[in-house]
Point group: C2
Chain length 403, copies 2
């Protein structure tokens, strides 16, 4: 039999994948599992969006233009205009989710063998696309102690090599909840200008800011030629399965290159673009999104309060998004997550995402886990109780469990 | 400003793209343009499919598993079973259209610098994905005189190098309408086995066979380890904008590698998968698809009859799909297509796809054009009249037009 390619054989699988069978097995034993490990919100998708899909007047479900339907492009433009960002119609491309926008960014910015800096801990899916695109991610390590804000300039500058083509960052951050401050964005801008790098901002959590102010790379005039913005409606419309995102820039060469990438895959899904157009045309659309954000703001408060009562658990209260990196009082967070699924007694348990998968630097994150606060308040409270009980019991039995 | 990557700057744009502004300009002048140049059918998407989307009971429009929703996997399995192909649930992956399945195939089969053989003329979108994946396409030239069937064994075998990893072919063929004969598939199978190559069959036109019998690579037991099948519902459900396709194989390593590619992009669109499940559960689903095929069969007859009355136009009556490569009595088919859009007098004109874009070998296809018979009969008749008039007039004025 022929061998599969090295790139596909070595493509990184999500580390959490190998824990799923344990969660499934626990459920088969009748256990209720609180999933704090995934970024799939439980909030209903707004009726205004779903109705836009159901009511779409479509006789032939045709390809959309590869850049996106004009209606969807207008909807994105109207949305950005609400954030004070004016974009021309040809300055954005509708993508199959934020994922495809990230892929386009890697393809446009890098040839195989090039490097992109990225603050760690970072969203593990960056690994998959960068690997398949032959791009090396170089981590800028950030710490919980500093609230996952950027390290001093020289620590970033020393990572830049002739192969460095860009800096990718998510703002607000997954998994850290960091919202970058004005001076941090200015630092990144200065580095990008000085070293001729693209600045790729993943802004899918733009709406979810609880402290500080979000600033888009597209609102920084000096970055006109350097900025690429990656976006998605998945989170702000609780519509992850819609697969609608956007790639935006003000650099004509970047846009031309991204359009070529977009042509290859023909088009993003048509109906979900019409849904977005209908949603944005709805007078209540901003209220709907704000309602969503308020729900996460409350969850963040509840979660922070609950976690503060668990001895040994360390965290920085997230400024945005809906994630939190926890420091756990264990040596091996993955072993603890496993144990919670296999050995923790009782009818219920909780699943976290082990921290190592969010770091590129080997050894970091071993005692950490990510929480996504995508469950309703009462479930978050119960999940925290289970986590507390689990940690207490695990610390008693751990010497045995870890043998 | 930083430079964009070489790969994105040099990614092939669809050659037809540069003609679109001329078509738009003609329409602005009030001209009706019959588009025989695109593979976007005009046939309404079956209500049974659209109803499956509109009626989907979805509260949270969530990610589907990256392999696809279990319901959609079952729907594909049920569909293949109707063709006598039994697949296990983990032997297929739901993709964002056939396009993504082709991309996964390139990524799984090849590392950058590897080669894939492909009979030409071929579907131009193979160029985009192979380029972005760093894969070199090596053409196996076929001719209208031979009905675009494969050349003798030695002409294919001599193209195989140590860098050759696979043979990609569409069956039935876009743009040729070829349906490969049993002995051709056996020849490809023998070459794949002898040289340890993957055989990648793009079978999205499986339903559209008017002469001969379609045989899937998945029905050839000796190819168990070597066969990859690429599929899509775009054409058989006239649902190009749904972005639902499939990648299938019986080779566990291929499947594992493709699942890793699939994980990186999270999931295909959710609602369109539910639509497919509803469609396949509908008792009339096979009749609906057969009705679609009958419509194309009639169009093929009408088109062939009409074209046979145009002096100097050469074609092989297509055995499948809904395309036809025409030999035109002009030196430069692209110049003729342009002229039809800019200079042809009257209220109406016709747009074809110039032939060169379907060939990799330079110089081939200059006097050819592809027709997609995706218009209703009366429009096909009118388009052929216009083509006839256009060719007559062009042959008179061509010496001047081509100066």
């Amino acid at each position: 039999m022929p061998d599969v390619s090295r790139r596909s054989a070595t493509a990184p699988a999500s580390p959490i994948r190998r824990l799923y069978p344990l969660a499934e097995e626990a459920k088969r034993r009748g256990k209720k599992v609180y999933h704090l490990n995934i970024g799939q919100p439980d909030i209903p998708t707004p009726e205004e969006y779903l109705q836009g899909i159901r009511g779409a007047d479509v006789e032939v479900l045709a390809y959309s233009p590869s850049q996106g339907l004009p209606e969807a492009i207008e909807a994105f433009r109207a949305y950005y205009a609400e954030w004070g960002i004016e974009l021309a119609p040809d300055e954005l491309i509708v993508t199959a989710g934020g994922s495809e926008a990230v892929l386009f960014a890697f393809q446009v910015v890098c040839d195989p063998g090039d490097q992109v800096l990225v603050p760690e801990p970072f969203y593990p899916n960056y690994n998959g696309f960068s690997h398949l695109a032959g791009v090396e991610l170089v981590p800028i390590t950030t710490t919980r102690e500093e609230g996952f804000h950027l390290p001093p300039r020289q620590e970033i500058a020393r990572l830049i090599t002739p192969r460095t083509k860009g800096i990718l960052f998510s703002n607000p951050g997954n998994p850290t909840g960091v919202v970058y401050r004005e001076e941090e964005l200015e630092l990144l801008a200065e580095l990008a200008l000085r070293h001729d790098l693209f600045l790729i901002a993943d802004e899918v959590y733009r709406e979810f800011v609880y402290e500080g102010v979000h600033r888009s790379v597209l609102s920084m005039p000096e970055l006109r030629g350097h900025a690429i913005m990656v976006d998605s409606i998945s989170k702000r419309l609780s519509a992850c399965g819609a697969r609608i995102g956007a790639f935006a820039s003000r650099n004509p060469e970047v846009l031309a290159a991204a359009r070529r990438c977009a042509m290859a895959r023909l088009s993003p899904p048509t109906l979900e673009q019409l849904g977005l157009a209908a949603f944005m045309a709805h007078p209540r659309h901003r209220d709907v999104m704000l309602g969503m954000v308020e729900e996460y703001r409350r969850r963040r408060e509840v979660l922070s309060e609950q976690l503060s009562h668990i001895p040994g658990v360390l965290f920085h209260k997230p400024e945005g998004a809906f994630y939190m990196m926890l420091g756990l009082p264990v040596d091996d967070a993955e072993a603890f997550v496993r144990w919670m699924l296999t050995d923790f007694p009782g009818e219920e348990t909780v699943m976290l995402a082990p921290g190592e998968g969010f770091y590129k630097t080997r050894g970091l994150g071993a005692d950490e886990a990510r929480i996504a606060y995508v469950l309703k308040e009462q479930d978050l409270v119960r999940a925290c109780q289970l986590l507390k009980e689990g940690l207490e019991l695990y610390q008693e039995v751990a010497p045995r469990a870890q043998v």
